[in-house]
Symmetry: D3
Subunit: 239 residues, 6 copies
Amino acid sequence: MIGQSGIAVKHVRRADAASVAALAKCGVATIHEAMGRIGLLDTHIRPIYPGAKACGTAITVFAHPGDNWMLHVAAEMLQPGDVAVLGTSSDNTDGMFGDLLATSFRARGALGLVIDAGCRDTAELRDMGFPVWSRAVHAEGTVKATVGSVNTPIICAGALVHPGDVVVADDDGVVIVPKQRAAQVAAAAAAREVKEAGTRQRLAAGELGLDVYGMREPLAKAGLKYFEDEAAWQREVQK
Amino acid sequence: MIGQSGIAVKHVRRADAASVAALAKCGVATIHEAMGRIGLLDTHIRPIYPGAKACGTAITVFAHPGDNWMLHVAAEMLQPGDVAVLGTSSDNTDGMFGDLLATSFRARGALGLVIDAGCRDTAELRDMGFPVWSRAVHAEGTVKATVGSVNTPIICAGALVHPGDVVVADDDGVVIVPKQRAAQVAAAAAAREVKEAGTRQRLAAGELGLDVYGMREPLAKAGLKYFEDEAAWQREVQK
Amino acid sequence: MIGQSGIAVKHVRRADAASVAALAKCGVATIHEAMGRIGLLDTHIRPIYPGAKACGTAITVFAHPGDNWMLHVAAEMLQPGDVAVLGTSSDNTDGMFGDLLATSFRARGALGLVIDAGCRDTAELRDMGFPVWSRAVHAEGTVKATVGSVNTPIICAGALVHPGDVVVADDDGVVIVPKQRAAQVAAAAAAREVKEAGTRQRLAAGELGLDVYGMREPLAKAGLKYFEDEAAWQREVQK
Amino acid sequence: MIGQSGIAVKHVRRADAASVAALAKCGVATIHEAMGRIGLLDTHIRPIYPGAKACGTAITVFAHPGDNWMLHVAAEMLQPGDVAVLGTSSDNTDGMFGDLLATSFRARGALGLVIDAGCRDTAELRDMGFPVWSRAVHAEGTVKATVGSVNTPIICAGALVHPGDVVVADDDGVVIVPKQRAAQVAAAAAAREVKEAGTRQRLAAGELGLDVYGMREPLAKAGLKYFEDEAAWQREVQK
Amino acid sequence: MIGQSGIAVKHVRRADAASVAALAKCGVATIHEAMGRIGLLDTHIRPIYPGAKACGTAITVFAHPGDNWMLHVAAEMLQPGDVAVLGTSSDNTDGMFGDLLATSFRARGALGLVIDAGCRDTAELRDMGFPVWSRAVHAEGTVKATVGSVNTPIICAGALVHPGDVVVADDDGVVIVPKQRAAQVAAAAAAREVKEAGTRQRLAAGELGLDVYGMREPLAKAGLKYFEDEAAWQREVQK
Amino acid sequence: MIGQSGIAVKHVRRADAASVAALAKCGVATIHEAMGRIGLLDTHIRPIYPGAKACGTAITVFAHPGDNWMLHVAAEMLQPGDVAVLGTSSDNTDGMFGDLLATSFRARGALGLVIDAGCRDTAELRDMGFPVWSRAVHAEGTVKATVGSVNTPIICAGALVHPGDVVVADDDGVVIVPKQRAAQVAAAAAAREVKEAGTRQRLAAGELGLDVYGMREPLAKAGLKYFEDEAAWQREVQK
């Protein structure tokens, strides 16, 4: 049940390692396209430093505003290759995560964090190379008073995340690949990259997308009219 | 007509090359001041990486939300030295532009893109050194279903842009110089830079702006009162 | 009186230099915690470049929207080690501060600026290494028509700032330490850093926060239940 | 699959009528509490007129930005007592719904619409008494070019909605009750209302929540200290 | 020139009275559609009370943040049937307009105000029945220190407005009809209303938009597939 | 100390009743002007229903995100004529206040609430006629886990509020009058109303503000130039 508090699930089925490894080679935009244009988190989730990149399996965290207790509970569930993903019961930007938790997460083998709340100690995290995608940078401290859940399905920044799903995050944002679809999406993304490489070459050589993608006829059908210059357009308007 | 769909104007009169070259030497803030404090795009338009800089002539694009078809039409109109500028019929942050279109734009000689929508593949664009100023970074894909226009006047992020106008963009944002005023503004901006260099030297030497700009008398006239310290101020208040 | 216009106080009592030096060694998050989780500015105040850092005594500026006159008045009050802090009478993002004022401020010994308005010439400021924390990057110019105040108490981005208070700013944002508390907070922050260093070592070695902080019992009391896996949880739900 | 396009499911299992009728008697806040504080849509979803109220079973719609085609597909699936709920693939405020669609929806027996996009003809809708909860009021027209889905699970304003779930909406916003839990939540909400009626009487008679809820001891344990007046507090501080 | 300060144009050519009268009978959404889906102001412009409605010819005002001087200059240019429209040089929410200016505007025959800034005395304005569409309700006072312009072209909330253009505003927002197109748009809007009346009747009688607009075939071509129920869809997915 | 937790001050010195009664007769905009254009809360604080009005003495509440415990503590301090004002340690929109607390507050004689967080049960509050000014309408429930303070100075929506200050709130927003200045501000506001009544009469009779306020000469000095029509302006431009 989404948003239920008081649950900590110890063991989760994770997406298979081969698919995760394959997805790690692709960018967020490519994977999102390969899935059928779904799975992105909202644009308010941004990396705390440029060049951040992570691909791993989700440990999900549900927390309440101003309370980071569940991140400590989550630390115990983290395995090498995991990425923690935190959603909240209500909008909040408090700095739930900093360099101490990052030290703990890294010791457990975690590759990063996606948090629909705030992050702090961002200079230290950049120096550590521990990537975080957050809603805000905020030094505001949090309490440990109310329990949420770990490893239940959550909604994080508009996306549904199940424990064990693949989380891919880079400069463009974050995409979630359901574990059941990981192999299929990895294959589709790889195929897309191959195809795009060919297109890229043609475009780099000066060919136009209009021709590469065969758009001229559909554009005309959709009503696009070409004019030699502004004067020609204005003559048409005044007819 | 602003916002009309279905028009693609092939040839546009561009600002003269000498003025564009002169403007390229100045920053956005200086040019905006030299024009009489006008021409800036809204602050939600930000470069996708620090240090981005472009100065060129506008190819204008009018597009609908979630639809990047017109960027392909615009590619054909791009000439070396152009900067594409895209406005939309309604607020949208979808990732209308990525590394494939950038490859095509660069092959045509374009220097950059200003887009009141989203941009993706930002790591690749940074690596390519292809500067984009956008409303958002968003991996969300777009369709090619509804025609807009190319090379008609548009409103982009609160500024009116005609095809061929000069687009200057840097870390501070984006300013549009109407092509008819390009030479005059370039001269005024250059003059301003000379004048500011002198002021900068005086300020660096420790002179105060109060004296450099002769502000002491106008401040007094406008009602500013000096007090030695807080106690003196409080005594005045309690009189 | 907060928000009164027309006052310029020349001399202010500043926090003691030893406390400022001690605080300069700590991060914003640590200091905020050491003060009892107070004193932060709102998250809309961000550094104009990554890695910005400043710690100094506040010269306060109260200004009106679109008018940067008071920054020139403030320049005269600046002493080596000061950080200017500007609040406004109403929300505004105009570029009140640029490289000329930064040149003047630096000549006076100022270490940086915190401004609840816009900043421009950001590439030049980055090159100068003059750090600014602002609400926006905006090239929009300002007038010099209406007086505000210098060195009166202000509210800046949700925080009360008195002249002479300590301003600490880094990648995480900005925290204000009242001058009366500077020594106490500096000591508490240093103690906190020592304690955190120990905790960091234990966490890095793989110990869990759950054990380091003794959270297992409080979590159980607060109602957290552990399940081996999702199936176990679902069996519980269906009971 | 959330966010898949091209699917129109004709028949859905709806929450039982008795539970819907029972929930219709309770407010959104009460139901949210009775469910365990979950199920609310984000606060950007607001009624287009005060006093709007609806409680019915969800017909779900997944649409693309600037495209309202799927609302016409949904009209055919609507039965008396339904409330349509629309989520989008990307943020959009275009006016996807107006008085013509409302006329059609009402003819089908629909009780209202929850739409994470824009609404128009709001004066006419108010006159019709057809309630809509939307992200924006916007006259901007939409196209019919790209298919989404009807009656697949969607995320709308941060909440997961399945076809047939109960949608309760009033001045406070919108809450979704999963159909499987409808009876249980209806009972819990009714019980809560009875209990609150008793509490309301005591509070109206002047009793304090501190006593009604037994908060004095927990507050003291949590560290709250009472002082007779400000002077007493200041004496304590200076000890 | 857009955004030039210091200009006050006394006499403007206004859209013809017959067209204005015809447009006054239509809603903002209808007129926007009849113009080809253009001309709307951004959605941040909202009426200060429900049921507000105005249709008149534009007197344009360009003002600086926190300065309402130009509204007094505009008062002199107002004639019966005019609507004042104010854009600013930079984002601002200060309360530039209140009941005194409304008294003056009404005495001149003005029908309302559209202002991309703040409005105050909103209870009095509601009591007077003087409609205002604004970016914010804000009591913040303004100065009279810097000149802008009256009756020059402006950009207001993303729309280009020339003096004399028709301004139509209601609960849905604001649309600008260029004076040259007023007659044509009025005719198209009236025709649209007639056509919509017929459609409304059919929809009210229970016909579906799918049939009224002939959408079934295009939807199938665009890839929409119907399933009897969720089980049927899931069987398809698992094939 | 602003933002300190754990303090509850029982008795506060309130502004004198005569001043409060006098201020109750004036609107927020007038009082703000009479104070010297200061004291307003940020525009994100809005009444939950139109026509809301309150004027009373402040009981201040400092709370943590998602926790409304301190509102119960505040209830005991409320006396007839008080208005509760709540600020938070960090941005939060949770529904901290609803009809039960309103029942309790009203039983204590409170006149309303200003809350920089969310409010719920808004239909019931409107029916009760209990006015609330809030940052959001949100049904989200809160916990009672962390203590804040009551009757310490707070910052609420950008304004400093001391216990006992006068809170005036209406459709335009909220203004805080420091208790020490209440008599003076009440007198100034009354005088302003008298003066404005005279001005209103002159404006209603058709006199222009340009003449009433003697603006013609200052406008000319500031550089405003009048042109008969657009053609005259364009001739000037082309000189």
